[in-house]
């Protein structure tokens, strides 16, 4: 392959050429070739730094391949290839271009060796990805996209400010471990935190992803958040506060996921929860924990894509992904149902499925370091994720109450894409050592010990039993057509309401002010009218009379001054 060529550049430039190609097999083949060639290129380059250049005395390393960036880059390229297959049937130039440009930008961020290249790719990813939401071409998606863009670009602005402060303080733009106590690093930390969906900064994820197109959500699910996880692992490994942040992230979304009706939004919540596990791993910061974060990000990209693909297929065929309107779809879409269940088993960490081999690295690291409170919460979150993503998603879409919807099976290309993702999920579960081999640090861990297999099966089986019992006793809350308030309420309701209130107050103040000025002005006019009006003394002798009067006054003053 070509020495020093950035695989990200291959995707970005290739994406821009897409409109020039004839639609159909040529264009689709080219689109699939881009991530495949990118993967070959990445694999062929030895670890190291390439394409260095200098900008205002700063050295930019636009391509850095090391053990941490490599594993994320591989996952990104696989995800890009799968999403091209999934969108094979699509004839929408906008989504085709953005569907590769955006992964290219995210890949560029992961492969960036300096903060300035990182910032550029960070913003390119933010701006390009919004078109996957707008491509739905509805008013609702347009507004969700605007909110998404505002927050994403906000993260970029914070990143830029942080980078400027950091470069001024240290004189170097290299992206290495950052010291959180410096103001620049703090801003960078918040910028990463927005994209990693930290608590209170998370809501763009649940707000925007379910509003994107069928294929767009699949693309979105893979990159932005995992780019942030990579950036946190690179810059803030071992920062203790991340353990607390990650634990909260793993916990609170599962409650929302239980009562959420839009199944793609349920998946967005469960993505937030999985990111929590990774953030905890980064916070622990030991080699095993960081391996766990990277491995779980890799696995999450695949199983989350698989789940979003299956729900996308349901949206395409049944016309809705609301749990309240679905049910019994296994009769019409048996293959999609089966593939969805592979994704569900993978996210739930069933033995022989991917998360069993990846999430356990993080839990093992937490236990090794004696973090028993986060350990218990993560165990709770593991049971919870099985409950809402592992059971709820397949149950309400494909089983449960038969909605009477009869539709076609998903298109073949979608089934192939889901099949590839499912195969990889099982592959990682069955042969975890293959993934462990490309992790940042050497892994000495065997997930398939008797203790781990049995305790995990106990946790999952009894969680399933809880679901079944609650379902059969009618305690389980039914799926309802409703929205649930989350933090986005603050900027979708509270802030607009506050700003209207403030505007009204300002308006009232302004009215009062103008009224007062008018009053004063009228008073002045009245006085003028009194003296200069038709009956005013000054007007009576005007103009000759008043001229004489003023001349007398002037002369009088001259006399006075002369004497003084």
């Amino acid at each position: 392959m070509i020495e020093g060529l950035n695989p990200a550049l291959l995707l970005i430039c290739g994406a821009l050429l897409i409109p020039l190609l004839p639609r159909g097999i040529v264009r689709n083949g080219f689109m699939l070739a881009l991530p495949v060639l990118g993967l070959l290129q990445l694999w062929s380059l030895p670890h190291g730094q390439y394409a260095e250049m200098s900008l205002f005395n700063l050295t930019l390393i636009t391509l850095r391949i090391d053990s941490l960036s490599f594993v994320f880059a591989v996952a990104f390229l696989i995800a890009a290839a799968i999403s091209v297959i999934y969108a094979w049937h699509l004839d929408d130039e906008l989504q085709q271009v953005v569907g590769l440009f955006y992964p290219g930008a995210a890949l560029g961020a992961v492969l960036a060796g300096d903060l300035i290249t990182l910032f550029i790719c960070w913003e390119l990813a933010a701006i390009s990805s919004v078109f996957l939401i707008w491509a739905r071409r509805t008013e609702r998606a347009y507004r969700a996209g605007l909110r998404y863009l505002l927050i994403q670009v906000g993260s970029g602005v914070l990143l830029l400010a942080g980078v400027v402060l950091h470069v001024r303080a240290t004189g170097s733009a290299t992206f290495e471990h950052l010291d959180l106590s410096s103001p620049g690093a703090t801003l960078i930390f918040i910028a990463f935190g927005i994209k990693a969906a930290f608590p209170f900064l998370h809501n763009w994820l649940q707000d925007a992803y379910p509003e994107a197109t069928v294929t767009g959500t699949v693309v979105l699910s893979a990159f932005t958040t995992k780019m942030a996880i990579y950036a946190l692992a690179r810059g803030f490994a071992g920062v203790e506060i991340l353990i607390t942040i990650g634990t909260i992230m793993a916990m609170f979304p599962i409650f929302f996921a239980v009562i959420e009706n839009d199944l793609r939004r349920v998946l967005a919540y469960s993505m937030n929860n999985q990111l929590g596990f990774m953030v905890v791993g980064i916070g622990i910061g030991t080699p095993l924990a960081l391996d766990g974060a990277a491995a779980h990000a890799f696995a999450d990209i695949l199983f989350k894509a698989l789940l979003f693909m299956s729900m996308g297929a349901v949206l395409l065929r049944a016309g809705t992904v609301n749990g309240s309107q679905l049910g019994g779809l296994y009769k019409s879409m048996p293959l999609t149902a089966g593939l969805c269940m592979v994704g569900a088993a993978s996210i739930s960490a069933f033995p022989l499925f991917s998360a069993f081999a990846t999430k356990s690295l993080i839990l093992e690291a937490a236990a090794q370091e004696g973090h028993w409170i986060p350990f218990l919460f993560l165990l709770f979150a593991s049971a919870g994720v099985f409950h809402h993503a592992g059971i709820k998603i397949p149950y309400f879409a494909f089983f449960g109450h038969d909605s009477g919807i009869r539709c076609q099976e998903a298109p073949r290309n979608m089934l192939i894409a889901m099949g590839v993702a499912a195969a990889l999920c099982i592959g990682i579960g069955v042969f975890p050592q293959a993934l462990y081999a490309i992790l940042p640090y050497p892994v000495v861990f065997d997930p398939y010990t008797t203790t781990h297999v049995i305790t995990q099966l106990q946790l999952l089986a009894w969680s399933a039993l809880a679901f079944a019992v609650l379902m059969r006793t009618g305690i389980y809350p039914p799926e309802l057509r409703a929205v649930n308030l989350d933090f986005d309420w603050t900027y979708r309701k509270l802030l607009p309401a506050l700003s209207i209130r403030v505007w009204k107050e300002l308006d009232r103040g302004w009215m009062g002010l103008t009224e007062a000025i008018k009053c004063q002005f009228n008073g002045l006019m009245r006085i003028l009218f009194l003296h200069h009006g038709p009956h005013g003394r000054l007007a009576a002798t005007w103009p000759t009379g008043s001229m004489v009067l003023w001349a007398v006054v002037l002369l009088g003053m001259c006399v006075v001054f002369y004497y003084v």
Binding site: A383, R406, T451, L465, A466, R472, V483, L485
Partner: protein, 90 residues
């Protein structure tokens, strides 16, 4: 392509899961598996980091009660956060 076909076409076919007795069977099957897994703790030595992990059936009971707590709390949460579908007006 996305139009659902007539329900009449599929309604003739009776699926295995359409029979409520089979669903009940699955439930009891699951309960049996759970019981088996609970008792499995007798047969091996647990390698643990924390003492609570070693308690008999800890993971099974923890999973069960966490899920019940999760659902009950989420149900209560609905009282606070549930709004009409058109609450945000879009």
């Amino acid at each position: 392509m996305t139009l659902p076909s007539s329900p009449a076409v599929n309604s003739e076919r009776k699926y295995w899961l359409d029979d409520p007795r089979h669903v009940t069977g699955i439930f009891y099957g699951l309960a049996l598996i759970c019981a088996g897994l609970f008792l499995a703790d007798v047969f091996y030595h647990k390698h643990t980091y924390f003492s609570f992990e070693g308690w008999f059936g800890f993971f099974a009971l923890y999973g069960f009660f966490c899920c019940v707590a999760l659902v009950l709390l989420a149900k209560q949460m609905r009282k606070w956060v549930k709004r009409n579908e058109d609450y945000y007006g879009d």
